[in-house]
């Protein structure tokens, strides 16, 4: 095929996809009436509350490992004392939001895509339409808003648990004084460090929910179709989070 035609077709396909995804996201976020509070509450629990253990454990081990790394790395240039500050800043600005977002992506994007994909292939989405219910409002809107609102909370809780992970390692095996460690952690943290991390969390939550809903709603037929949708949702959410993290970090701190 003519390479010019091939390039043109590829460009059109990409732009059409971006346009469709943008419209899907805007409709999911802003077509609020009628709002289904029961569906929204169920998603707050599913996405927020039930993700807490995995996000908490990830943050705990990450904070602990970070403390060990900073301590051994810092020892090379006599800077072991910076462990509390670096752990706090590293967790709050970067590792808390990114790792929390990735864990939520693994847990939530896959489950949303599998659930909505299964609903599609078993005609449950058609059934919603026949019951005068817009699938976007009943399925997508509650998930999008639940993720946008709960992932920052998860990130905030993860930040605290991560800092506590560093504190446990710092006080139990690196010889830090407990009060001094916590005072040092707080001394070098600025409010923008925390706020920027929470904002990242909201964006990552949106990416996770949009990926799950989009691939679920566009799932192919049968079990194989749902499997592909689930895999694509997780991959897209993970890559989207890492790319968005780079862009947001540039915007917030450059």
């Amino acid at each position: 095929m003519n390479p010019v035609r091939l390039t043109g077709r590829g460009t059109l396909w990409t732009l059409r996809g971006i346009g469709a995804l943008t419209l899907f996201t805007l409709r999911g976020l802003f077509r609020l009436q009628p709002f289904y509070p029961r569906a929204f509450l169920a998603q707050l629990i599913q996405i927020g509350w039930l993700s807490l253990p995995v996000v908490g454990l990830t943050a705990l081990f990450t904070g602990a490992a970070l403390a060990l790394q900073i301590h051994s790395g810092g020892a090379r240039f006599q800077a072991s004392d910076v462990v509390p500050a670096i752990v706090a800043i590293g967790m709050v600005r970067e590792l808390g939001p990114v790792l929390g977002g990735l864990m939520v992506a693994a847990r939530v994007a896959s489950s949303i895509a599998a659930e909505i994909g299964t609903m599609k292939v078993t005609e449950q989405i058609d059934a919603l339409v026949t019951l005068s219910t817009d699938p976007m409002r009943w399925l997508v809107t509650p998930r999008l808003w639940a993720a946008v609102l709960t992932v920052p909370v998860l990130v905030g809780v993860g930040d605290i648990i991560g800092i506590m992970g560093g504190w446990i390692v710092g006080t139990q095996s690196l010889g830090f004084n407990s009060t001094g460690y916590l005072a040092n952690s707080a001394a070098y943290l600025q409010s923008w460090d925390v706020v920027s991390g929470l904002l990242k969390g909201a964006v990552f939550g949106l990416i996770v929910a949009v990926s799950g809903c989009w691939f679920g709603m566009h799932s192919g037929r049968g079990a194989a179709g749902v499997g592909r949708a689930t895999k694509s949702a997780v991959v897209a959410a993970a890559v989207g989070i890492l790319a968005a993290n780079f862009v947001l970090t540039g915007m917030f701190f450059e």
Partner: protein, 237 residues
């Protein structure tokens, strides 16, 4: 009551509906039959607004279905899906009362749901079960209860006996016939099961190559030449 006027639908090069015109009057039970892939489900999806036709109109009580008239139409019909299509995340009564719960308290909606479940032969003990706990026949009955929960004026049945053994299929057919007669609702059934046609239908339309090949009363179908060919194929398969 429902009029389909010169409906066309193609998917790529394949023409599925090629100018179909068909009407169904108030209280009538119409069965649309045809081999697999003849466009029966596409016709149904066009009527329901799940698929947009390329050309043609669908009229409901004399008005063409569009953005303004469709919501009223959607509120007046119920549908039984081939696989029941019960929502996995909701209990049986919540499925049956799905539409009711949007405009009345749960207690009242549940009472109506339990009453409808009883009408289709399911006891109150099934109300709190999840769809995954139901057998195929029970799921079909629960789907039927959901279809009639809001006392619809029109009920669509998509392959109501598919996947059921002959005894359960006969029970579902009898149930559908009883409900349609009792409520006076208009029924449109998509099927390739001739036992369903005989049990449920007043009129039958044969869909072939995207067109209506024959349309007439069920009582006359044994004498119709186009149907004889279809029935012969059915018997061979």
């Amino acid at each position: 009551m429902i009029e389909i006027d010169a409906l066309h639908k193609s998917f790529g090069q394949k023409t599925v509906l090629d100018g179909i015109s068909l009407g169904v009057t108030q209280g009538e039970s119409l069965c649309v039959i045809g081999q697999s892939g003849t466009g029966k489900s596409v016709l149904l999806k066009c009527i329901l607004g799940l698929t947009r036709p390329d050309a043609g109109r669908i009229l409901w009580q004399g008005k063409a279905l569009d953005r303004t008239t469709r919501p009223d139409f959607m509120n007046r019909f119920g549908m039984l899906f081939q696989g029941a299509a019960l929502f996995d995340s909701l209990s049986v009564w919540q499925n049956v009362a799905f539409r009711l719960r949007q405009r009345m308290p749960d207690a009242k909606a549940r009472a109506i749901a339990v009453e409808k479940l009883a009408r289709v032969g399911l006891g109150a003990e099934t109300a709190d079960l999840m769809p995954a706990e139901l057998s195929g026949g029970m799921a079909k009955r629960a789907g039927l209860a959901r279809a009639i929960a809001d006392d619809p004026a029109v009920i669509f049945f998509d392959e109501p006996t598919t996947g059921l053994d002959p005894i359960r299929a006969r029970r579902i057919n009898d149930l559908i016939r009883g409900i349609v007669t009792e409520t006076g609702a208009t029924a449109i059934t998509i099927t390739h099961d001739m036992d369903s046609v005989r049990a449920i239908g007043d009129r039958v339309a044969l869909l072939e190559n995207g067109r209506i090949a024959w349309d007439g009363p069920v009582a006359q179908m044994n004498d119709a030449a186009p149907l004889a060919a279809f029935l012969g194929q059915q018997n061979r398969s």
